[in-house]
Homo-oligomer: 132 residues x 3
């Protein structure tokens, strides 16, 4: 499964985390390519304080409260755990890294910074391709 | 065609409906996996009154008016008709069903509630995989 | 690579442009299918003045400024250049063209207006399928 992670909104990242966790549970290899807002959301200084929703912003408090009641871990903790237990590689787009002026060590969980052409090559070999 | 339906916004769901309708017309099997806002949008008490747009919110009235002038059915009616005429299976994500505290009978058109791992298995067999 | 371009927001279109450019660099054939907001964004009277962001709207000025500092071409110029240098076909969805009341000549870079069923056929032959 190869996913271009454009979004940095925590609702979409939670949807992604569920799929990553499911893929690891089934023994699939997962590769993520962080683009614009995806790189932003994985920045070490942003990851914990990001509260952005991509849609239905007025319902964000209700959903956040419900996730807490159900003890659902954060999108970040789900992906971190999946990475510890399975094959999950996380790449940041070099162009997006320039926009945010970050290096690999400024980002959580990122294995490498690569260009879009390298990513296309990886994506072309995947059974499941998504853009979130 | 296997689509992870994260969004619950009616503009994106209309885009989805067009693709589902096209796939059924070509004789393809379609499977949908409703995630967070997707489950919300298929709730029986929400489906008719949901007016949320994912982008260009200020243009929503113009688009809604134009869809009416052209007699385009709602996203829901297009998917319902595709399900009646072709092979369309709709699954709700079990985690998202917990968040909204809903059972299968609280949702329109849903065939089953399944986990993300089961969904990944289904998606890995599809020719076309999308995340909306 | 076959991408259903639902979004018309310039941040998502920039993410798309990076992938299109990478795919062309690797010698892949690219096909785009413009849906609702995608058709809007390719309208000749809109393409230059569209400033819509899909998420983190409050950070749009910061990102726009940074793209300028780095001399990153606009999403449109990146796709235009990719189309000049590689195999990139751009189709507009006939239903979306009706909504905006546009013909092929009202849209930039569009090769043809086609229906969703024809698009599904094209997408089913692609190695990489995405919905943005």
């Amino acid at each position: 499964m190869a996913v271009a992670v454009f979004s940095g909104s925590i609702d979409r990242l939670t949807g992604l985390a569920m799929l990553v966790s499911g893929a690891v549970a089934m023994g699939y290899e997962v590769e993520l390519f962080l683009q614009l807002w995806g790189v932003y959301a994985f920045k070490k200084d942003i990851v914990k304080k990001n509260m952005n929703f991509s849609e239905f912003q007025d319902k964000a408090p209700e959903v956040a409260k419900r996730l807490q009641e159900l003890n659902v871990p954060s999108w970040f903790d789900i992906i971190k755990e999946a990475k510890e237990n399975g094959s999950v590689k996380i790449y940041a787009c070099s162009a997006a890294a320039s926009i945010w002026n970050v290096k690999k060590e400024d980002l959580e969980l990122v294995d490498d910074i690569i260009g879009a052409a390298t990513w296309i090559e990886k994506m072309s070999k995947a059974d499941i391709t998504l853009f979130i």
